[in-house]
C-alpha cells in the first residue's frame, strides 16, 4: 500500500459579458466559428490588451471565498509558446505575483473528519481558441475536393475569454477526496456567480497531479514521482482516472520499477490513461512581465467592499443549518455540498413549517438514495420541494405510515405525481379506524386458537407474528401503533 498524494489545477471560465482583454462578447457557445473576434483577440499588429475589471472582481470574489490572501499588487506575465489557436504566440497569464494566494477549502476527508485542502494560488489569465485537427487526406483524394482534410481548423471565439486558474497544494489523498474538492469548489464558484460549473461545455477544466509514496517516504517528507493527468471532461473522469493511475503506478512500483515523470491523458472510451508527453519535451515558457499592462493595484478598501458583497457560502450555510435548524453537522454538510440541494432543502423546510430536521432526514436519507440509484440530480426531480413537505405532512397526520411514505416518494421521483394523488389512486391511506381493525384482529385470533393459547401461556414474542399477520391482511396500510395497542388489548383482555 502506498500513500496517495494528489494536487489539482482547475481552469474556470469566468462569467463576464466580454472577453478578458477586448470588448468581444464572451457568450460564444454555439456561435458560428470566428464570429466573436476583433483585432485585439485576433492579435493583429499593434493591438493592446485592456484588463476587464469584472474579471478581476470575480477572481477576487473567488479568492476571498477560498480564504486566500489578495495581493495588493499583482502582475500579468506573458507565457510564450507557439500554437495556432494561441493568436499572440503568448498567453497573458500571471506568474510570479498572482492575484490570490495561500488559501484553503474545507472538505470531508476519507476519515469523515473535516479536511483543509490548501489553495496555493488563484490567478487570472486568458483562454485559447480551439483547434480542430481534421483527419488526413484519404488515398487518391485531392485537397481541392476535400479542402479541410488533413488541415487544422481554428476557431478563435473562445480565445481571450477570462479564465480563473486555481492551484491546490498536494493535499488530497484519494480520488474520493479529489472528487469532493471539485464538487465543493464548483458549489462555491456557482454560489459566487463566477462560473457556470458546466464541465461538459468546458467551463471547468481540470488537471490532476498524482504521486505515490511509501510510508517511509511520507515519514521522511519525501515525495514520489509526479504524473500529470489531463483531458478530464467530467467529475467522474477525475475520479476514474485517479483510480486508474493509482492502480497503474502501484503495479509499476510493486514490480520494482520506477514511475516516469510524464503527462498522461485520460481516454474516456478505453477508460485508461495514455502518455501525452514525456518530461524531456516539457516546454520552457519564457515567462516575463507583460509590458503592455501596468501592475494591477487593488486598494484594501476595494477588496473589503468585494468581501462584504459575498453571498452566503457553503460552510456558513451549513453552520446556519446546525444553529438555526437543529441539523446534525453531518446532515448540514451533506445538504450544502451543492447549492441546488441546499436551496431545494430550504424551500421544502419553508413549505413544511414543521421541524427542519424531519425534512433533512427525508432528503439526506430516502431522497439522496433514490437520486443516487437513478443517477439524477436534484434539479431534475419532477416535483417541487413543497410536495415533499406535503408527503411528510401525510405521514405526520397518520394518513400513511413512514414505510408507505418511502414508497410514495419513490413513485414521486418516478412519475412526478403529487403524494396525495398517489395515496388516493393506490388506496394507500392508513387504516386507523378502530372498529375496522378490531374486526380484522378478532377474525385472526379466531382462526389461530393455538397461537393465542401459546401467547397467553407466556410466549409473548408471538405479538410480532400477530402484528405481521394484521399488516399482511391490510396490505401494510394499518397504523402500526394502533395495531400494536389493539392486538395487545385483545390478547391480554
Amino acid at each position: 500500500m502506498y500513500h496517495v498524494v494528489i494536487g489539482m489545477e482547475l481552469h474556470a471560465q469566468l462569467q463576464t459579458q466580454s472577453k478578458m482583454f477586448c470588448g468581444c462578447s464572451a457568450d460564444y457557445w454555439a456561435a458560428p466559428p470566428n464570429s466573436h473576434v476583433c483585432p485585439v483577440c485576433l492579435a493583429m499588429p499593434g493591438v493592446l490588451p485592456v484588463i476587464n475589471a469584472k474579471a478581476v472582481e470575480q477572481t477576487v470574489r473567488a479568492g476571498l471565498a477560498l480564504n486566500c490572501q489578495i495581493a495588493p499588487f499583482s502582475v500579468f506575465a506573458r507565457k510564450n509558446y507557439h500554437y495556432p489557436d494561441l493568436p499572440k504566440g503568448y498567453q497573458i497569464s500571471q506568474y510570479e505575483l498572482p492575484l490570490c494566494h495561500d488559501g484553503w477549502l474545507l472538505i470531508e476527508g476519507e476519515d469523515g473528519q473535516p479536511k483543509r485542502i490548501g489553495i496555493r494560488r488563484a490567478h487570472l489569465e486568458e483562454d485559447t481558441g480551439k483547434s480542430i485537427h481534421v483527419g488526413p487526406l484519404g488515398p487518391g483524394s485531392e485537397r481541392a475536393d476535400h479542402p479541410t482534410d488533413g488541415a487544422t481548423l481554428i476557431d478563435l471565439n473562445r480565445a481571450g475569454l477570462p479564465l480563473l486558474e486555481i492551484v491546490t497544494e498536494a493535499d488530497m489523498a484519494s480520488g474520493e477526496e479529489a472528487y469532493r474538492y471539485l464538487v465543493k469548489l464548483r458549489t462555491i464558484l456557482r454560489t459566487l456567480g463566477v462560473n457556470s460549473g458546466d464541465m461538459e461545455k468546458g467551463a471547468m477544466r481540470c488537471e490532476v497531479n498524482l504521486s505515490l509514496r511509501t510510508a517511509e517516504q511520507a515519514a521522511a517528507g519525501q515525495y514520489g514521482v509526479k504524473v500529470e493527468v489531463k483531458n478530464l471532461n467530467s467529475f467522474k473522469a477525475v475520479r476514474d482516472s485517479i483510480a486508474y493511475e493509482i492502480q497503474r503506478q502501484t503495479a509499476v512500483l510493486d514490480g520494482g520499477r520506477a514511475v516516469r515523470q510524464v503527462t498522461m491523458g485520460w481516454d474516456e472510451n478505453r477508460r485508461c490513461t495514455v502518455v501525452q508527453r514525456g518530461k524531456e519535451s516539457s516546454e520552457d515558457y519564457r515567462y516575463f512581465p507583460e509590458p503592455d499592462l501596468p501592475p494591477l493595484e487593488l486598494s484594501r478598501a476595494w477588496v473589503e467592499g468585494v468581501r462584504a458583497s459575498l453571498p452566503e457560502l457553503p460552510d456558513a450555510r451549513a453552520a446556519r443549518f446546525v444553529r438555526d435548524c437543529g441539523l446534525t453537522a453531518r446532515d448540514a454538510a451533506l445538504l450544502t455540498v451543492e447549492r441546488a440541494v441546499a436551496d431545494w432543502f430550504e424551500a421544502a423546510v419553508a413549505a413544511y413549517g414543521g421541524a427542519p430536521r424531519e425534512v433533512a432526514n427525508w432528503v439526506t436519507g430516502q431522497l439522496f438514495a433514490l437520486l443516487k440509484s437513478e443517477e439524477g440530480d436534484i434539479a431534475s426531480l419532477p416535483f417541487q420541494p413543497a410536495e415533499l413537505a406535503d408527503l411528510i405532512r401525510l405521514v405526520d397526520a397518520g394518513t400513511i405510515n413512514r414505510n408507505t411514505g418511502k414508497k410514495v416518494l419513490e413513485q414521486m421521483v418516478a412519475t412526478g405525481q403529487p403524494p396525495a394523488a398517489i395515496v388516493e389512486a393506490q388506496g394507500l391511506a392508513q387504516l386507523s379506524d378502530e372498529a375496522d381493525l378490531v374486526q380484522v384482529i378478532d377474525a385472526l385470533l379466531a382462526a389461530n386458537p393455538g397461537e393465542v393459547a401459546k401467547y397467553r401461556a407466556g410466549k409473548t414474542s408471538l405479538l410480532g407474528w400477530f402484528m405481521g399477520q394484521v399488516m399482511k391482511e391490510t396490505r401494510g396500510k394499518a397504523n402500526p401503533d394502533l395495531v400494536r395497542r389493539l392486538v395487545t388489548q385483545r390478547l391480554d383482555g
Binding site: M44, N80, L156, R286, F288, D292
Partner: protein, 554 residues
Amino acid sequence: MSDELFRLTIHQAAGLLRRREITSVELTQAVLERIYAVDNAVRAYLSLMPEAALERAAAADCALAAADDPASLPALLGIPLAIKDVILVEGAPTTCGSKMLEDFVSPFEATVIGKLRAAGAVLLGKTNTDEFAMGSSTENSAFVATRNPWDLSRVPGGSSGGSAAAVAADECLAALGSDTGGSVRQPAALCGVVGIKPTYGRVSRYGLTAFASSLDQIGCLTKDVTDAALLLHAIAGHDPLDSTSMDAPIPDYAAALGLARSETGQSYEARSETGQSFGALGLARSETGQSYETSVALAGLRPSQPLHGLRVGVPREYFIDGMQPEVEQAVRAAIDALVSLGAELREISLPHTQYALPVYYLIAPAEASANLARYDGVRYGLRHPDAQTMWEGFKLSRGAGFGPEVKRRIMLGAYALSAGYYDAYYLKAQQVRTLLKRDFDLAFQQVDVIAAPVSPTTAFRVGEKADDPMSMYLADVFTLSLNLAGNCGLSVPCGFDLQGLPIGLQLIGPAFGEAAILRAAYAYEQATDWRARRPVVGERWPVNGKRRTVNGKR
C-alpha cells in the same frame, strides 16, 4: 508660388490656408508632385494614397471655406503628412518593412491616426522603415533602402528613415515615426530635421506595431520646432485602448514655445515674417560650405535671453572617444549658444550610461521575441505555400517572412528569457534599467534640460555598417537611455560636418517635460539659421518600382 508649396512648414501652410491664399488641394497636389519628382531618388515611401489624400484635402478646403473663424480650426486641417509604415492606417497596407506583412492591409487603425483624421490632416502614404523598426539605417527594410536627401549615397538613419527623409526632401510637411531606441531622433539628426520622442505614455501606442512594448513610442518628424509642437499636441493624450498611456494634462506645446501666440495673436504663424523664405531656399547648400562653424550662425542671435533661468545639464558620459570631431564641436557650440540665450550650464553625470546599450539589447529583443510570435501565417501575413503540416507552416512562414536582423533579435530575446538565463540576463537588465532611470531622476533634480549629441557620427554610407551589427547598434548609444528611462527627448539641427551632412543636438527632458525641451529647442532654432539650408535632391536617379499606390480609407 504653388510649385514651391511643398517647402512649407505646417504652421506656414496653416496660415496661408486660413488666409485662403492657398488651398489644401493645391498644397497636397504640390507635395504629391514633389514625391513623384524626387522619391525615385530618395525612396522614402513604401505606399502612397494619392486619391484618398486629394479627397481629404478637398474636404479640408470645404471646412476652411465654411468656417466663420478659421483661426479656431485645428492646426493640422488640410496638412499633408506621411506615416511610418509600422503605424496602422485603415484600408492601407502596413508592411512594417517586412515580407511577412507585404500583403497585409489593415482593417483598423491606430489611435494617433484617428486623432490626425479628426484634426483634418491629409495622409499621403506610408514611409519606409527598418523591418519591424529594428535598425538604424532603414537598410533592414525588406523592400528598399531609403537614401539620405543630403547625400543619396548615404543612409537616412533609422528606423524612421523613410519619415525623416520624406520631411527633409519636402515630400510631406511632417511625418510620424516611432522611437524604440532612437528611431525618431537619430534619423532626424542624420536628415537635418526636428524629431521628438515623447515621454513613454504621452502618446497612445494602440495601432503601432510593437517592437519592444516598454520602449516604443510614436514621435514626430518635422521641418521645425513649431511644427513638432503642433503635431505632438495633436497626437498626445490618454487612450483607454492603451493601458500604458498616461492620463496627464496635455500642455499647449505651441504656446509653450514662448512667443507663438503672444507675438502674432494668430496662432501657428510665429514665423510669418520669414514666411517668404521658402521661395529662395534652393541655393542653401552651395552657398554655405563652412557653416558647421556655429559661430557664424550665432552672429544672428537675438539680443534677448529667452532661456534665462533654464538649467541645462551636460552629461560627461555623452562625449566619448571615437565621436566624429565635427559632431562634438557642433554640439558643444550649440550648448554655448544655449548659454548665450540665457541658460545656465551644469556639468552632470549619468553614471550608468555605459550599461544602456547592453541593457537595451537584452530588454528590447526579449520583448520583441514575444511581440513577433504572432506572425505565424495562420490569421494573416505570409503563409508559406509549401507547408504540409501545421508546424512546418510556422517554420517555413517565419523563416521566409523575417529578415536576418529580425531573426537575430528574436533569438537573442528568446535566449535572454530562457530558463536558467532569465535571472542573469533579463532580470539583471531590468535592475540596471532602474539605475539608468534613477540617473535621470537625480539629474533632473539639478537641471531642467539635458543637452547631448544625438548620434556619434553624421550619416554613414549605404552598406557601410550593414554587415556589422555591433557598429550599427552603436549608432543609438546616445539615444536609447531615454527609452529605457521613459523620459522625452528631441533632436534639433545644430550644424553640418565638413561634407555638409547635418548634425543634431539632443535635448532631453524629464517625464512629461516636452514643453521644456521644445521651448529650449525653439529658442535655439530661432537664434540660428541651420534651417535655411536645405538639401538639393536631384531627379536623375533611376526609377525604383517598389512603391505601391493604394487607396486607403477616405
